[in-house]
Symmetry: C2
Subunit: 225 residues, 2 copies
DNA sequence: TTCGTCATGTAATGGGTTACATGATTAC
DNA sequence: GTAATCATGTAACCCATTACATGACGAA
């Protein structure tokens, strides 16, 4: 039962819930698809996988990756990890947690990344929790700034200002998301293969208004250790 | 010569260069004034101070804090740390480094916080290095997004989009700063007590256009362990 | 046949937190 | 006199990285 890192364990469980994978691929997904928030090294990932197996949440299977809908690279895998029933149950239990941990930067991002498998009410609690966390932070920053403004040089001031602006921006983002959730819109379910949706109590389609970003395929690079 | 954490060591040296302080106060400054980037605990700070003393960069002095221009709280201190000549020299050497480390998130923030004591050319290199670092990151995100867009659900997509937007925003901020530096504006020198400016090769005043933020003194709170 | 990437691991180390232990000083 | 805050420290642990070691497979 040795308790390993919250966020890695969570993300691994979440990714494996979508489909079985081996460690190498798992790490890539962690760093790219979900890589917005965090990059983990093998030295962290493999030991973690072991303890998850030891906990009965995963099983190791030898053999080839299914590679779902598109067998792009028919590459052979050594050890494929698959979520067990207990693993699934455990993940669902983690998903339903709304404690203060879930509002911390990295933890929040991980939670958000799996909103597609999260019930609406939990989503709301997490978003609102995050928002009030940030608002607290803003209060502190404002207070501290008011106390020390004249003692600081302009660079320090500029740094603080930029920091606050970033936080304010995230609050606005959260506001939009929360409003969107409240209005009954649901961003879930547009993925290729959707694993069992547990308790969606609505279904009105239509996403958030997208700000125009247009990515182009450029340097198809990848991080290696 | 045991090498302790780069950023903490750097920040401690930088703060003590401005004026001598004891550990407790140092930590507060680290968490509030410069607290935008990082909070350290005593368990990290005190051992670090010890090794800095062992390296000959600080000396411990018993006695009262000078509290500079304003003896607001005439509070007595146990151990006041003061930068030695070697410490000053070492800090200056750290300040002049422009290696790739200086472009990482936290490290960069720490560097920026001490731009007031940094020469213009180093400032430029750090800002430009940071910018190209972020641009690389953007490329990767764009590429990864282009590769995986259709496999992702809308929440994951939204998370990526927001992440990219944040990075783009920081790039724009850096652009302004760089332009400002190039134009000869210098944000340095408006602090109450300015420690020796080493090599300013310009002096045109006038800061960056400030976006309006108006802080009010609200909850004058402080983080305690 | 050699290079790149896929693939799995381990040992040493780093950098930091938490919880604890201790005590002085100030405000009420 | 007691609570809050100031003030300094240590030991145990946690999470993760780095560098290393190993080897299979495909493409040039």
């Amino acid at each position: 039962m040795s308790r390993r890192s919250g966020i890695l364990e969570f993300a691994v469980l979440g990714l494996l819930r979508e489909s079985p994978m081996h460690g190498y691929e798992l790490r890539k997904r962690l760093n790219t698809s979900l890589g917005v928030f965090r990059a983990f090294s093998y030295g962290t990932l493999y030991p973690c996988l072991k303890t998850l197996v030891a906990n009965g949440w995963l099983i190791e299977e030898p053999g080839n990756t299914a590679e779902a809908t598109a067998p792009l690279t028919g590459r052979r895998a050594k050890i494929v990890y698959r979520l067990t029933a207990e693993g699934k149950e455990h993940f669902e239990q983690l998903l339903s947690q709304t404690g203060p941990d879930a509002y911390e930067d990295e933890h929040f991002a991980a939670r958000f990344a799996f909103f597609g498998q999260t019930s609406r009410d939990v989503r709301m609690r997490v978003l609102e929790g995050r928002r009030s966390r940030l608002e607290e932070r803003l209060e502190k920053m404002r207070a501290s700034l008011a106390r020390t403004r004249e003692r600081l040089d302009d660079y320090t001031l500029e740094l603080q200002r930029h920091g606050m602006e970033s936080v304010e921006r995230e609050v606005r983002w959260l506001n939009e998301l929360i409003e969107s959730e409240r209005a009954g819109r649901d961003l879930r379910g547009s993925a290729t293969e959707g694993p069992a949706q547990q308790d969606t109590t609505s279904g009105a389609p239509g996403g958030l208004p997208r700000s125009g970003d247009e990515p182009r395929p450029d340097t198809p690079d990848d991080t290696a250790t």
